[in-house]
Symmetry: C2
């Protein structure tokens, strides 16, 4: 890759994200939309920025941006509220799987598909993005409320339930295996966060190299995200769990402030720009002409 093009595109992406984000904020629109628009514009001018935005390196930075976004969301969430909202969360999660599934099946049948295809279509509608749920609540300042905790808990459960349903309907695996792996993951992640994390952090703090505590947070986050991906869950679920653990078990304000700097100063704007750059507006235009 051409280093000048890569470095230049990063500079352009960060500048466009902050400037357009601010412009949207000033006219009372969500700054996120301005940052996504920055990506759409950069991708549509073509040339080297469009090429870099599509590349593996920029995509990796953007993926890390999403991981940081969920890490921050976790640090802003209240585990106590999420636990307390267990009952309502379960109901919301069941509803959030059952309703889209039923509507998807019905719509596919109505369009003339056979039952197996209709069941598969329904299953594909079921996963709830914990990313969208958590970020919307975070930006609206509602993540620590009762309602916020209920929705976040529901999104996590929903992810697991949807995976089970997909396993049954698409035959991609046994639902028991999915449920078993997810359960083992959450139990181990919980044990790790509550029993192993605090003493491990005390050991790690004795490292005198610069920024060792901040690096420790990243190691925990990336590790839990990688394990989540390994058992079939979304990596960002792991990042969210890491955020909860960091807040509850090692939540020094100064450390959280440094996580915030890395997340919002570097990676998160790149995620939104990349999101915008990967929207296929040409496809939307085609849809308009067809409809």
């Amino acid at each position: 890759m051409n280093p000048a093009a890569f470095l230049g595109t990063l500079a352009l992406a960060l500048a466009a994200a902050k400037v357009l984000g601010q412009a949207f904020d000033r006219v009372k629109l969500p700054p996120i939309l301005g940052q996504i628009l920055a990506g759409i514009l950069l991708a549509s001018v073509g040339g080297f920025p469009a090429e870099v935005l599509r590349g593996e390196a920029f995509t990796a930075l953007s993926d890390l941006g999403l991981v940081f976004l969920l890490l921050l969301t976790g640090t802003e969430s209240s585990l106590k509220e999420i636990r307390r909202a267990g009952g309502p969360s379960t109901l919301v999660a069941l509803g959030g799987v059952a309703v889209p599934f039923a509507l998807g099946v019905a719509a596919a049948r109505w369009l003339g598909f056979g039952l197996p295809q209709a069941l598969a279509t329904g299953a594909l509608f079921t996963p709830t993005s914990i990313g969208i749920t958590a970020v919307t609540l975070l930006e609206a300042g509602r993540i620590r409320t009762r309602v916020g905790a209920t929705l976040v808990g529901a999104a996590i459960l929903d992810d697991v339930l949807a995976l089970c349903l997909l396993a049954v309907v698409l035959g991609t695996g046994s639902p028991h295996a999915v449920l078993g792996k997810a359960t083992v993951y959450f139990v181990l992640a919980g044990l790790f966060a509550w029993k192993i994390l605090p003493p491990l952090y005390r050991q790690f703090r004795r490292i005198h190299l610069p920024e060792a505590p901040l690096t420790f947070v990243l190691i925990v986050t990336l590790g839990l995200a990688a394990l989540a991906e390994t058992v079939g869950l979304a990596g960002i679920t792991g990042a969210f769990v890491a955020g909860l653990a960091v807040r509850e078990r090692m939540g020094e304000e100064k450390l959280l402030d440094r996580v915030h700097a890395v997340a919002y100063g570097v990676f998160i704007p790149l995620f939104f720009v990349h999101l915008g750059s990967s929207l296929d507006l040409g496809g939307l235009g085609g849809l308009g002409r067809v409809g």
Copy 2:
């Protein structure tokens, strides 16, 4: 790329870098060597970490680590001392080009090469790595001294002189063009840093999005690095110039502290690990058998 492998390798790389860096520090060895050893070990275990370490995404993160290292070095350097040391720096730079060039030519002639090949060999010995110079001085705590400033100034000049020499000897371009482009770059970068940066920063500070000042530093750094690459200089020279400008023209301690967090918490350890992972120790072994 497999997300679990990528996230897991990042976690392993950061953990190994900090733990081995600390271990080296404890036995009075430079922590940098421990971090490089972490890379050697991770690459030699093979499997997914070795593959990710060689990949485009990890390489890009490592390149950004080097950019951050030079940015920090710039913020720690004293422009006043570098200017004051102009005379000695020029002498050191001329010596640093002339001596390796003469020795390289002589050695190549002695080994039986013709004059054109010998001149080319000599020219290849001339560039001084501003990266190694600056980082060594930074780690030794000597970057702000008279000697440190002289060496840093010499390394920058040396880079330009070596490019001119390479242009003449290898016929890769006109030395006037090289000198002209380098001069234009430094004049424009200086004008930008002194005249445009402060008012631009005042405008940017009015952006209320999180971490806008930190992002501004990154935009300036990546932009100056990209421009340096475009005119044929090393991108890290641009990052160093950005560091000087940030320190002199917008050097709030709180902002510099956040740059430090991003640099040492995330990117710089990845640079050293990547450096270690790309060492070809097999090649060294072969050399031993030949010699």
